[in-house]
């Protein structure tokens, strides 16, 4: 174990659910003030890890500390230092937004917290909904309240578990602006997301999990600079299919292009020749810099 001043210290954590090894000797450290990304496919163990550090579950072995406080032995201080935005869109239908935030403040031992509650409501554009019952809010508004609830006690470490899942673009951008601002003020942010472009633009450092193990942990810039394959981006002409032997290295993009991850320049030449021989016409050819998604796929394949 090292760096006792770390915002999060996770050392040798294991967790098993029946026959499933959800976390397998996970160790990582998040430094204070970092914007840290936790990535991985579904079932990789991200939410399990967050549950353990939030005290919603208990590790079978290993140590987790939040701002130096053990989440089991010193759970009160650990939880005071942590704000968690859960992945599920949960709410208590009995209360208004303001009641919800006052109650959440009280759970953390805070009374007369209205000044800060008003500030959060303002930043999250919820001030006009303060006296509205939670049931009457849209999904996006409920998501904002979840963020507000995680912030009522001004935690130095904020964990956002897929906070933009199913959220419209406007809210997503507003939320990131707010979270960036919190990070600039010194809050440590830990983010899990399936939107890799978000992680790429926001996170200074990233850990990738697969089947309960950390398979990559590095600065985002260093991850992007990894000497991985040549990325050949193509737009195919007409309604033609790629030859079957290229499917393994190809993925489709949202804008209808195809990206092929190829070993080196020779493989690029061979691929173009293969397409020509197969009669596949090309409208666009581009060699592109790998983005986080390419790195993510490459690392996941290496770990397979």
């Amino acid at each position: 174990m090292s760096d006792p001043s770390a915002a999060l210290l996770i050392d040798g954590v294991c967790k098993r659910y029946g026959s499933l090894q959800a976390l397998d000797h996970v160790s990582l450290t998040v430094r204070q003030g970092e914007f840290f990304g936790l990535l991985g496919p579904n079932g990789a163990g991200k939410t399990t890890l967050i549950s353990l550090l939030a005290g919603l579950g208990r590790a079978d072995s290993g140590v987790i500390r939040v701002m130096g406080h053990d989440v089991v032995d010193d759970y009160r201080d650990a939880r005071r230092n942590l704000g968690v935005v859960p992945q599920e869109l949960v709410f208590d239908p009995f209360f208004t937004v303001r009641e919800t935030l006052r109650i959440q403040s009280g759970y953390f031992g805070l009374r007369r917290n209205d000044d800060w509650i008003d500030e959060i409501l303002h930043h999250l554009d919820l001030h006009t909904k303060a006296d509205v019952n939670m049931r009457a809010l849209s999904g996006g508004m409920k998501r904002r309240v979840l963020v507000a609830q995680a912030l009522v006690h001004r935690p130095p470490v904020i964990v956002l578990d897929e906070p933009t899942a199913g959220v419209d673009v406007e809210l997503r951008q507003g939320l990131w602006a707010f979270v960036r601002d919190l990070n600039r003020q010194g809050h440590t942010i830990v983010l899990t997301t399936h939107y890799l472009e978000e992680a790429e633009s926001l996170c200074g450092r990233i850990a990738m999990l697969k089947q309960g193990r950390v398979i990559a942990l590095d600065n985002t810039a260093d991850l992007l600079a990894r000497p991985i394959q040549q990325m050949l981006r193509l737009r195919l002409r007409g309604d033609v299919a790629l030859p079957a032997d290229l499917h393994a290295v190809a993925r489709a993009t949202a804008d209808g292009r195809v990206v092929l991850a190829l070993e080196n320049a020779d493989a690029v030449s061979a691929c173009l020749a293969r397409l020509h021989a197969a009669g596949v016409g090309l409208e666009e050819i581009e060699l592109v810099r790998p983005d986080l998604e390419d790195v993510f796929i490459s690392i996941m394949q290496e770990a397979a």
């Binding site: 659910y17 549950s51 939030a54 005290g55 919603l56 579950g57 208990r58 759970y75 009160r76 201080d77 939880r79 005071r80 942590l82 968690v84 859960p86 599920e88 949960v90 709410f91 208590d92 239908p93 009995f94 209360f95 009641e99 109650i103 959440q104 403040s105 009280g106 759970y107 953390f108 031992g109 805070l110 009374r111 609830q149 006690h153």
Partner: protein, 252 residues
């Protein structure tokens, strides 16, 4: 009392108070209907204590039955709803100890039980004049009975994964124990075998002790009832705290 405990208690009380029509009004009406039907049919036909009319005998039983059932409902339904909808995380994420958690749910449930019990007592005042021989026993058994059922509600709410499991617990455990506890009759009117069976039902002691507070007479000594009810509460508290300390079905 810590701010966290006070807040959780406040939240739990506010939760039932916001739907008071359903959580307080409805059980009071139900008890009133029991009183109207049973007292009308049985008042001149059932012999209970000497010098006590059946209607007068029935009222403390109805008050206590409503109190117990609603104390159970409050903690159990709040927990199962929070678990099923997922908002239990709002209570699990903050630095609330398991003892504070237990205390808040039990106290809120006792408050609801007492409010419903007081409501039943108030509406029945129109129908019968009750003596108050030992008011402290009344308060003691009302509070302790509420706390016992509140604890049972915490156990049921944590144990149940679905609403129908909770309904089964309520229908197959709480209701029979309540109805077979002497709410509607004195156990001395039962055959010997059923009298013996009644003596192993802790609900009988709660209701019998509560009734002693009104009439100064009961089927068993109030001290024995206090001992049995107190022992039941200690045992349930121990079991519940043990579940909560282990995080049973709450912190996987």
């Amino acid at each position: 009392m810590s701010i966290a405990l006070r807040t959780l208690l406040y939240k739990e009380v506010l939760r039932f108070w916001k739907v008071g029509f359903q959580t307080v009004g409805a059980p009071v009406l139900t008890a009133l209907l029991y009183l109207l039907v049973f007292s009308h049919v049985l008042d001149r036909q059932v012999e209970v204590y000497g010098g006590v009319s059946y209607t007068a005998f029935l009222v403390p039983g109805l008050v206590m039955m409503s109190l117990l059932q609603n104390a159970f409902s409050n903690s159990s339904s709040s927990l199962i709803q929070s678990k099923v909808t997922g908002n239990i995380v709002f209570v699990l994420l903050p630095p609330i100890s398991y003892r504070e958690f237990y205390a808040a749910y039990v106290l809120a449930a006792v408050i609801r039980g007492l409010v419903v019990g007081a409501g039943v007592w108030l509406v029945t005042l129109w129908f019968v004049e009750l003596p108050y021989a030992h008011p402290l026993w009344i308060l003691f058994f009302a509070t302790l009975g509420g706390a016992i059922l509140a604890s049972l509600g915490v156990i049921a709410g944590i144990w149940a994964d679905k609403f129908d499991q909770l309904a089964a617990f309520q229908n197959f455990v709480v209701m029979p124990l309540t109805f077979l506890s002497g709410v509607f009759y004195s156990i001395h009117s039962l055959p010997a075998f059923w009298q013996t069976v009644s003596h192993v039902n802790p609900f009988f002691y709660m209701i019998d002790g509560f009734r002693y507070g009104f009439f100064g007479q009961s089927d068993v000594s109030p001290w024995i009832s206090a001992l049995v009810a107190g022992g039941s509460f200690v045992a349930l508290t121990y079991a519940t705290l043990n579940m909560l300390a282990r995080g049973y079905k709450l912190r996987s």
